[in-house]
Amino acid sequence: MKKRIGFTLFITALCLAATVSMASAGQLVLKGSTTVLPIAQKISEAYMAAHPEVKISLSGGGSGNGIKAVLDQTSNIGNSSRFIKGKEVKLAAEKGVLPVPHRIALDCIVPVAHPENPVTDLTLDQLKKIYQGKITNWKEVGGADKKIVVISRDSSSGTFDAWKSLVMKKERVTPRALTQPSNGGLVTQVATTEGAIAYIALGYLNDEVKAIRVNGIKGSAETTLNGRYPISRPLFMFTNGWPKGETLSFINFILSRNGQSLVEEAGSIPLY
């Protein structure tokens, strides 16, 4: 009996030792934007399959949290759907951290409406006026006589940031706009609300909602890459200093041809 306990203890100790040594052998912590999340997930799975000794922990939380995690040095890579802000750079300098951005993919933001809405095309100016609260009825843009339910992302989302700079051009989104904390929530809400309009990352587009053309151009990988689609943005991963070791090989993997094809599988747009 005593022997057995001793043996069990020994095995447990061995397992513990193995876990600890594995963690030190190769561990990557990724955190941040929910837009980058599906890409990071695909890449991590493939990377761990190729390097079984590496352990990757991945979580969302938003672009701000991703950058914050890099500044606090609690994660190796911070995912972000926006570029680092001036205030964050200042904070980084105070902490002695050098955040380095890596462009890993492109993304385009697509306005969506309920599938039964007859409107298929809006200009950037119309979109801006709808989100400013100046156009409030679908009949003003060639649709049915129905009130427009404007849905926006929360003011601190990276997608909102991109929408604000690319569509709103410094004008404010009406305070009457409904807000949703996630891309997925937006899709559900638009699918159940007839008069709704919203904007989502290309990767979240599905059959439940209808994509609207902007200035007559359909948002897709092709129109984003050739620069014709007006609402597109790069996605980033931030590291503390120039990446080394495991982090470097991970970033290199994303930027490889293989990695970029996984970006495409995740619903975003590869860099090349």
Partner: protein, 325 residues
């Protein structure tokens, strides 16, 4: 009438306290040294434990104030509390939380309008009218309602109730003040019902017997004797139910719509304070102005819940049941 020894939370009466004489007798019958040591250990252990929770509360408050106070270096308290515009990420930003405060207050008020009558009436039914067997089934069911995770209630509201409201009232969106109030009422009914019921049960049975003996009908007994006697407990339950509603986050985040406007109609979307904090904290730049403003919103919310709790305490103290059986 049945009398049960339910442990009252709010309406503990004087006669509940054990008489010092009896206590002394018990103590004498035990070996003095043994008890003294045991008493001392137990007492100091409990004292330390209660100190820990006090300490944690103190830490949280200190942290809240430390992170929230810098807000008032870039926006005055007046502008903050009375400003209509909440554009925390714009350049230049606007940090006015009046719309958020009004959102919180309106949703709390309307949910109370729904929850208070139904909660109190259920409590009256359970303690005064229901046959024991019915009460045996109903009471645990209501308590179970309290144990439903708020995210489940929120999800139910978003997926089932909101589309129903949209069709029923032919409104542009079902995510609004009204739907949020209904879902919040679900959350405060168990609180109100359970505490009210305890208060009603705690009314001495002699009161009811006296009333009935004087020829009052059961209805008169309930409305003129039992309920007034339990009023302090019932009021406490209402205030605690309301403080639960004002602090609730997940439900309002999911079903209130999230538009930072002062509501003018029952079907306007709103953005209560907790929803705003939860939605924005994740992406607010660390120690930036937005971050501090969200903590200051947290302080405001905290002040409201403190107010509710102090109110509950003073009410239960002032209208404490007088006299005894």
């Amino acid at each position: 009438m049945k009398h049960r020894e339910a442990a009252p939370i709010a309406t503990r009466t004087h006669h509940d306290a054990p008489s010092p004489v009896a206590e002394g007798a018990v103590r004498d019958s035990l070996t003095r040294q043994h008890t003294a040591l045991g008493d001392w250990t137990a007492q100091s252990l409990l004292f330390v434990i209660s100190l820990v929770s006090l300490f944690v509360l103190g830490l949280i408050m200190a942290f809240l104030i430390m992170e929230g106070a810098p807000t008032f270096s870039f926006v005055s308290i007046r502008e903050f509390a009375l400003g209509h515009l909440w554009y925390p990420t714009d350049e230049p930003p606007d940090f006015g939380i009046l719309a958020l405060i009004m959102g919180s207050l309106s949703v709390t008020l309307i949910s109370s309008l729904i929850a208070v009558p139904s909660g109190v009436m259920t409590a009256i039914y359970l303690s005064e009218i229901a046959p024991p067997r019915v009460a045996e089934i109903l009471k645990p069911a209501i308590e179970l309602l309290a144990s439903l995770p708020s995210v489940v209630i929120g999800f139910f509201g978003m997926v089932a109730v909101a589309p129903l409201m949209q069709q029923l009232f032919d409104i542009p969106t079902g995510l609004n003040l009204f739907t949020a109030s209904i879902m919040l009422a679900f959350m405060s009914i168990p609180t109100i019902c359970t505490i009210s019921e305890d208060a009603l049960r705690n009314v001495p049975v002699t009161y009811r017997e006296a009333s009935l003996a004087l020829g009052a009908t059961p209805f008169e007994t309930i409305s003129k004797v039992t309920v007034p006697a339990a009023l302090s407990g019932i009021t406490t339950s209402i205030i605690l139910g309301m403080s639960r509603a004002i602090g609730e986050t997940m439900v309002v985040l999911m079903v209130a719509g999230g538009a930072a406007i002062v509501p003018t109609s029952l079907f306007d979307p709103i953005r209560p304070m907790p929803a705003s904090i939860a939605a924005e904290m994740g992406e607010a730049p660390f120690r930036g102005e937005h971050y501090h403003a969200l903590f200051a919103t947290g302080i405001t919310l905290f002040l409201f819940t403190i107010l509710f709790n102090v109110l509950a305490m003073s009410v239960s103290r002032r209208y404490r049941l007088k006299g005894s059986s």
